[in-house]
Symmetry: C2
Subunit: 337 residues, 2 copies
């Protein structure tokens, strides 16, 4: 019994099953692939694969389907990356180049990726760490309430309402605004906390309390929003592959709606931020995703923000991985320096 052929058999099983949704038997296998041996031999190989936990039989007289472990081996060692079709490349380019602001880019990205893969696509907002302060604005909403707006040079705009802790006048506020802007303009967001301290220190005592409150707000703005948001599209594709989620897609929708879960999941898949990572079935930390797989990769200058696709474990991994990788590259290029 040859090892290489066994892998070849596993690959054939995965491919056929992904294609047909039906357990694949030894006979069908020799018919659809020229393996050069008879079905009996394949049966022996399949028995061995089953012993190793790579495939399983749903019931006695049915063919075999891959297990999570089988998919894992397939993804790690067997599958060849499938290049995108020229049409797909063109679609990516066309759709993403017409857009201007960040929201727009991300929105188009997920829609495109969802359409390309026929699955659910998610994209995380890029981290701000490398971005620099382009502008800061304070607006008085009520005597004690200030709307702080932070504009980064990436085009990202963050806003938050801050309780100033004391009543402020418009004059005081614009004085503070000038002070903050003067010393913070151009500061990289990850260095913001230190710079804010020096702004507070250099403020006249009478303004210090207010300065402190505003600084706290700005800091929260820069840090809290880092990984907070994501955009998603293609949830309707879940319903189409209804059959693939035996238990119903409810738990999957729940996971998707709880952005915290998804964001956590995406950042846990970080190992190699540039490579495409795959999390298969029960490998997922969240129970609702036990029948789902996530394919994700990083994008942007330091590849810390993630873009990915979620679908049934029975998915076309090579194609999905290729699409995710291609989209991430275009995305990086557009947002690039």
């Amino acid at each position: 019994m040859s090892e290489p052929r066994k892998l070849e058999v596993l690959r054939a099983i995965v491919e056929d099953y992904v294609h047909s949704r039906e357990p694949v038997g030894s006979k069908a296998l020799v018919e659809r692939h020229h393996l050069g041996v008879s079905s009996a031999t394949i049966r022996n190989d399949m028995a061995a694969l089953e012993d190793e936990g790579l495939i399983t039989a749903p019931h006695t007289s049915a063919g075999r389907i891959p297990t999570d472990k089988g998919y894992r081996l397939f993804v790690d060692q067997i599958s060849a990356v499938k290049p995108l079709s020229p049409a797909e490349r063109r679609a990516i380019q066309a759709l993403l180049e017409g857009s201007e602001d960040l929201d727009d880019v991300l929105d188009r990205t997920v829609r495109l990726l969802a359409q390309l893969t026929n699955q659910v696509a998610v994209v995380q907002y890029p981290h701000l760490s490398r971005a620099k302060v382009r502008h800061i604005e304070f607006v008085l909403l009520a005597p004690r309430k200030v709307l702080a707006v932070l504009i980064a040079d990436t085009g990202k705009v963050e806003q938050r309402v801050i309780d100033a802790g004391q009543e402020l006048s418009d004059e005081v506020l614009s004085e503070l605004r000038a002070r903050f802007l003067g010393s913070l303009s151009g500061t990289p967001l990850n260095l913001l906390p230190q710079s804010l301290q020096s702004v507070i220190a250099s403020s006249p005592p009478a303004r210090r309390g207010a300065a402190q409150a505003l600084a706290r707000g700005l800091e929260a703005l820069a840090t809290s929003s880092r990984e907070e948001r994501m955009v998603m599209a293609g949830t309707a594709n879940l319903a189409r592959s209804n059959v693939d989620f035996p238990l119903s897609i409810g738990p999957v929708l729940e996971a998707l709606e709880e952005q915290v879960v998804m964001l956590r999941l995406l950042s846990d898949m970080a190992e190699d931020p540039r490579g495409v990572t795959v999390s298969i079935g029960r490998e997922n930390p969240y129970d609702g995703l036990a029948e789902a797989s996530v394919v994700a990769t990083g994008y942007g200058p330091d590849a810390t923000a993630k873009v990915g696709v979620l679908g049934p474990t029975r998915m076309d991994y090579p194609t999905t991985m290729a699409a995710v990788r291609a989209v991430a590259r275009y995305l990086s290029r557009i947002l690039g320096p």
Copy 2:
């Protein structure tokens, strides 16, 4: 055959069916409701109701279920508004009062409404028309590209990248900024176009081109974003009521994802902006929602923005309507003047 009793029968059918998901027969009806007549009489009434198209029998030997028309009559004439439980009232109050900025309020609102009704909740961003300009900011991203940020006194922030049509320096831009801000601050957004014209007219000829480009951008900002966005939550509830969408929830998810469809639908339901409007099954203009009902109402100062719930036609209308109404009221109060 008495008219009032016939309506009573319809009401009983709707209530039982909503409760049990099963076609309800004449015998079960007399058992569960004290109608004071025998099942034979009910049968006569039911036959009449069927002739009028208010109920229908899925097959010969089954009970009856309401038609869209039956639900319509039920909603319009029969159902009594069900007051919320004190616990629910408290939940609304608690959840909404802890929040500060608009995004946060709307996010909490949909989640709450989804949880309250066990269905999908949607809320449209409030229109800007009554809002006034609080602040305008221009940021130079590239020599010809300007990021315009418009901050309304409602706390809403809108941004967009504008092509200035010519190269601008930081100095020129801040001069223009001062000019715009000076004459536009406090302007209601619906009057913005006129005011923008006068700003352009009063600009020195050398700046006129740039002023025009920026004005166009601001105008687009104020108008285009009016009805554009919405937030949604509770899609997982759709999966739970899987049975209620015989065809699968795919088309429903598609409709929800195509925000244009939903926004259109919500604003079409405007008739009486303060009252709770219901759109039932095939009354919906979108085919994918043929098995769904939408319960919506307006909120905010002029009740032009909508908040609503989407679920199967077989939904508990009185409770849903009560929840939507209550949430809209709290929402108006919080965003109110």
